[in-house]
């Protein structure tokens, strides 16, 4: 009721008048008794219903009894002959959404109205009845509804059709029987009837592709009048095009002419729908795109904001896939930067950032600088993200873009905005080595005056990793130590850790860092003091804490190799005693799921939250494997593959395998999940048949003791292989285990188990498993610096291929290398393509590949492969990969 109290206050001030001032539910419910009067006063009743609707609209609710009571008295009003009152009765019945047994009371009244001579009654009675009815009643009124669909009064027909669309969700089998009538209504001369009929007809037939295709074929010949129906037809046409393009070889797209014809329709709504449909065609060519872009460009200079918005939003999407096609609109886009509507301006800017060329960056940044000051944070974040992508696209422009980012970092802004900027700078530092020093200094300046503890600590952490590797680490110390003097305890503790990292990595700074760390021993926060003490002892110690320098670095920079959840459990279980807590007692068995997540995160190292290097998934696996004694002697892990599924989805046991490649060994990590609640598996092993992998010899297995329901576990099998050789082979697998029945109610397993086996799919170790995806930021420089000494060039015929795109991605996958500079994207319908790849081959040999593809009219693909590497043999090996 606060709403009304507030209204009263308002009235005191400005005498605002509302017919509903002081309205109160109880009183209105009392008033509703007039519905029961023998002599009905229609006006009065209408007013009371309006009041009831007002209450509901304001968010008031009626209790079940109240609603029932109102409903019953409302049903009495069907006696009144007043049209206005009847309309209000219809409205309130819909709002009260009566229960099934209540519906029966009004059914006969509504059915009478459905057959009334007054069209208004008929149309509305249909809508109300269909809204509140259930399936059983529907069969009774079906006959009337079918008649209504083809009624000559279009309001009645529309009411029946729209009701049909709603009923199709709940009673599809009944509505589907109306398709003849609906078909007839599609031919109606009334614009909206045609629209509603078309909507219903398509939904009735949506699972019958042929029928939808026929519908589209007949209607696109031009019998559709209403713009809304035309929009619908365009949507259906796109669907038909989507489904038919897969089996159409000739290249001419069906129905494209229809879509293009719609671009000349007199209604803007239809023009826009068609333009949008064309831009969303899969594999759209620039020739197809041009007419759509042209009409959208006209919309850009419309006086109506809605048109400008719709056009710029669509062009923004097109710019992601076909930036060149949108460049023709650049001049119009630039004028939109000053658009009053900031949503339009932001979309225009981000589009420009996507389509701009390298030379235009400086000018564009100048325009954006003026724009940034007067938009809200949410828009700014969008712009910052676009600038980050731009910087990665044009690495040579990093100075301008970094400068822009550092400027906006200094201005006012909320946390999310600042975080977006910091994340962008961090990404740029990681991707563009030349940007590192200036980027780090910008971050340093930012933390000098940063109000967000989270960002300060994250930046300090990042500084600790990257700072010591720069040419002059000492210049960062001042910024870091300032934090120790000026900030809150959390940031101070973080700064102490960062100082320690500098001390450990840069010997020349060590003595000075010690002076600073000793000062921290007098800090008034215990965490800060503890950290300082710890680091003084580890780095500067006499060897009592750590024996070697390597251990120190491992301690400072290594990540915690124990799952935090396990550590937490162990710490909770630890009881204070003479014996100190031993971290080695914590279980390292990790659930396989988090790995997958970490891998996903590692693929996209954006910002501070991401792991420090793309190899971190390997790091995690490395730790896991090192913790298993059998494998600890294998040396440095070279590469871990993505998991390969060995079972179909939704089988009893789900197993996937991760291939770990070492110099002289491979280890298969089988991640198993038991999906049967009534079973407990014990002594789970994998029996591997390596008869089709001649160069491999099995050396060790590590079984899994127990595999309860829905708790993933790992078992391992290790093979020896010739050193440094990229041996390949096929492995077939059998899951062997002892199964025990589990009582689902108690969760207890039976004593005795039965031995059982489960056949898994086979998998291969392929050449790509020996290739690490490592990108280079500037392919050309890297290519030049490797030199032509070990260059091998040859040409290959790949035979007929589905498309150039498919051929390119096949070769990339075959080689398992990292595509550089976005060259993995093949422009649609192009005849040739050059793809740049980089990677590190087993034995830590850097490899660069330049692939040139060409395709002829018979879809025969030819490829020229140029390899440069640090080793003759490796260049040859790459060629062998392809030759096979």
């Amino acid at each position: 009721m606060s709403q009304y109290v507030k209204k009263d206050d308002d009235r005191d001030e400005e005498a605002e008048y509302s017919p509903f001032s002081g309205i109160e539910k109880g009183a209105v419910l009392q008033e509703a008794r007039v519905f029961n009067d023998p002599q009905l006063d229609s006006r009065r009743c209408s007013q009371v219903i309006t009041k009831l609707l007002y209450l509901l609209n304001q968010g008031d609710t009626f209790t079940k009894t109240e609603a029932t009571e109102v409903f019953f008295s409302v049903t009495k009003l069907f006696q009144a002959k007043d049209i206005g009152l009847r309309r209000m009765v219809y409205l309130i019945i819909k709002e009260l959404s009566p229960s099934a047994d209540e519906v029966i009371i009004v059914t006969s009244s509504l059915m009478k109205d459905m057959n009334s001579k007054t069209d208004v009654y008929r149309a509305n009675a249909i809508r109300v009845l269909c809204r509140i009815t259930d399936g059983t009643l529907l069969t009774q009124i079906e006959r009337y509804l079918k008649q209504a669909i083809v009624d000559k009064n279009h309001v009645v027909a529309s009411a029946a059709l729209v009701s049909g669309i709603h009923l199709l969700q709940t009673n599809p089998e009944i509505v589907k029987r109306w398709s003849n009538e609906v078909q007839e209504a599609v031919q109606s001369r009334a614009a909206l009837v045609q629209f509603h009929a078309l909507a219903l007809l398509q939904q009735i037939r949506q699972n019958d592709r042929l029928a939808v295709s026929k519908l589209v074929t007949s209607l696109t010949k031009g019998s559709v009048r209403s713009p809304l129906a035309q929009c619908l037809l365009i949507r259906y046409t796109s669907q038909v095009i989507r489904e038919s393009s897969m089996n159409n070889q000739t290249g001419d797209r069906p129905f494209y002419d229809y879509l293009e014809g719609c671009l000349r329709h007199k209604s803007e709504m239809v023009i826009f729908e068609a333009a949008r449909a064309i831009t969303e065609l899969s594999g759209v060519t620039s020739r197809e795109l041009t007419p759509a872009i042209t009409v959208l460009q006209l919309f850009l200079s419309s006086s109506k904001p809605v048109l400008r918005f719709a056009a710029v939003r669509t062009l923004n999407k097109v710019a992601m896939t076909h930036p060149m096609a949108v460049t023709t609109c650049n001049i119009d886009m630039e004028s939109l930067i000053s658009d009053q509507n900031r949503s339009i301006a932001t979309l225009a800017i981000t589009t420009l950032l996507k389509t701009g060329n390298e030379s235009g960056v400086d000018r564009l940044m100048k325009q954006i600088t003026n724009f940034m000051s007067d938009i809200a944070d949410e828009f700014k974040i969008v712009v910052v993200d676009a600038i980050r992508s731009l910087c990665l696209k044009f690495p040579l422009k990093f100075r301008t873009l970094m400068g822009f980012l550092s400027n906006i970092l200094r201005e006012e802004g909320g946390f999310e905005y600042k975080k977006a900027i910091v994340d962008s700078i961090v990404t740029i530092i990681r991707e563009i080595p030349d940007a590192k020093e200036s980027g780090l200094l910008h971050l340093c300046e930012f933390i000098e005056d940063c109000e967000f503890t989270y960002l300060s600590t994250q930046i300090l952490h990042f500084l600790g990793i990257e700072g010591p590797k720069t040419s002059d680490p000492s210049k960062y110390i001042r910024y870091i130590y300032n934090r120790v003097i000026l900030e809150n305890a959390t940031v101070r503790a973080s700064a102490v850790s960062t100082l320690a990292k500098f001390g450990a990595m840069v010997d020349s700074l060590k003595p000075r860092i010690f002076v600073l760390l000793r000062r921290c021993l007098y800090d008034n926060d215990d965490e800060v003091r503890d950290r300082a003490t710890l680091y003084l002892n580890t780095i500067g110690g006499d060897g009592s804490v750590f024996e070697t320098n390597k251990d120190v670095k491992e301690f400072l920079f290594g990540s915690l190799d124990i799952p935090l959840a396990n550590l937490e459990t162990s710490l909770k279980n630890y009881e204070p005693s003479e014996e100190p807590f031993d971290i080695r007692s914590v279980s390292r068995e990790v659930k396989s799921q988090p790995f997958a997540e970490k891998k996903a995160a590692a693929k996209k190292p954006t910002g501070l939250g991401a792991p420090p290097a793309p190899t971190s998934a390997v790091d995690t696996y490395d730790k896991l494997l090192l913790s298993i004694p059998e494998f600890s002697t294998f040396g440095q892990l070279f590469k871990s593959s993505a998991p390969v599924e060995l079972t179909e989805a939704e089988t009893e046991y789900a197993v996937n395998v991760v291939k770990h490649i070492f110099d002289r060994h491979v280890v298969f990590q089988y991640n198993c999940t038991n999906t049967i609640p009534e079973q407990l598996l014990e002594d789970v092993t994998i029996v591997v048949d390596a008869s089709e992998a001649e160069e491999f010899e099995e050396v060790a297995t590590k079984p899994l003791k127990s595999l309860p329901y829905d708790t993933p576990g790992q078992t391992f099998v290790a093979f020896e292989k010739p050193e440094g050789v990229p041996a390949v082979g096929k492995f077939s697998n059998m899951l062997r285990f002892i199964v025990k029945e589990v009582d689902p109610s108690t969760g207890e397993a039976e004593e005795d188990g039965v031995e059982d086996e489960y056949q898994l799919e086979e998998f291969e170790v392929v050449a790509a498993d020996y290739m690490l995806k490592v990108g280079v930021s500037n392919f050309r420089n890297a290519w030049e610096s490797l030199g032509p000494d070990f260059e091998r060039v040859d040409e290959y015929g790949l035979g007929p291929r589905e498309s150039l795109k498919e051929a390119v991605s096949t070769v990339i996958n075959l080689l398992g290398m990292q595509p550089c500079e976005g060259t993995e994207v093949v422009a649609a319908n192009s005849r040739s393509h050059t793809c740049l790849l980089s990677g590190v081959y087993i034995g830590n040999v850097k490899v660069l590949v330049r692939l040139s593809f060409g395709v002829d009219s018979a879809k025969e693909v030819a490829m020229k492969l140029a390899v440069r590497s640090e080793d003759d043999a490796v260049s040859d090996a790459i060629h062998e990969l392809v030759a096979n």
Partner: protein, 178 residues
């Protein structure tokens, strides 16, 4: 329903963001609190913008929202992220113009509340469960007006007793509220 243009809600708010009449057709806002939160954020986002000559447009939580203001009335129409903006725009224009006709040009909150029944019927004639029923303002207003002979008809067309009743009512109302 995936192909049919859908409207998620239609709102008529006052100059402080308070509800005059609202209608939701989507499950995106299941509770009254969620609805009020949506109304609050869209109002805060738009109320300073001059949407009085042309309808304006913005995005909010992956919805497209179109709006147009007149005096102390704020009209909104919301559709999904991928909805054709121009279709939503005709809905907004239809609603806006129909209300204008029904209130006989007196577009303000007081008039709107006094004729709330007409506004609610108007919403009912524009959208049925998210599906567009009619967008032509004259047709919408025509359907609504023909249904409410007593209150919308000019005084001359009312019978003497009805006119007296109306007058009496206006008199009592002003006494009560004064």
């Amino acid at each position: 329903m995936e192909y049919c243009p859908l409207v998620k809600n239609i709102l008529l708010l006052d100059s402080e963001g308070g509800r005059i009449a609202v209608k939701y057709y989507s499950d995106d806002w299941p509770t009254n609190n969620a609805k009020e939160a949506f109304e609050k954020s869209i109002f805060t986002k738009t109320h300073k913008i001059n949407a009085r000559t042309e309808a304006e447009i913005t995005m909010l939580d992956s919805n497209v929202v179109l709006y147009k203001f007149v005096q102390d009335l704020h009209f909104f129409v919301t559709g999904g992220d991928s909805e054709n903006e121009l279709i939503l725009s005709t809905v907004l224009q239809g609603f806006f113009d129909a209300v204008g006709i029904l209130l006989r040009g007196n577009l303000n909150k007081r008039e709107a509340l006094e004729n709330l029944d007409l506004i609610l019927l108007c919403l009912d004639e524009i959208i049925d469960g998210g599906i567009i029923l009619e967008t032509d303002a004259n047709v919408i207003a025509g359907k609504v007006a023909s249904h409410s002979v007593d209150s919308a008809a000019p005084l001359s067309e009312q019978t003497i007793s009805q006119a007296l009743a109306t007058a009496r009512e206006h008199f009592t109302r002003s006494l009560l509220s004064g």
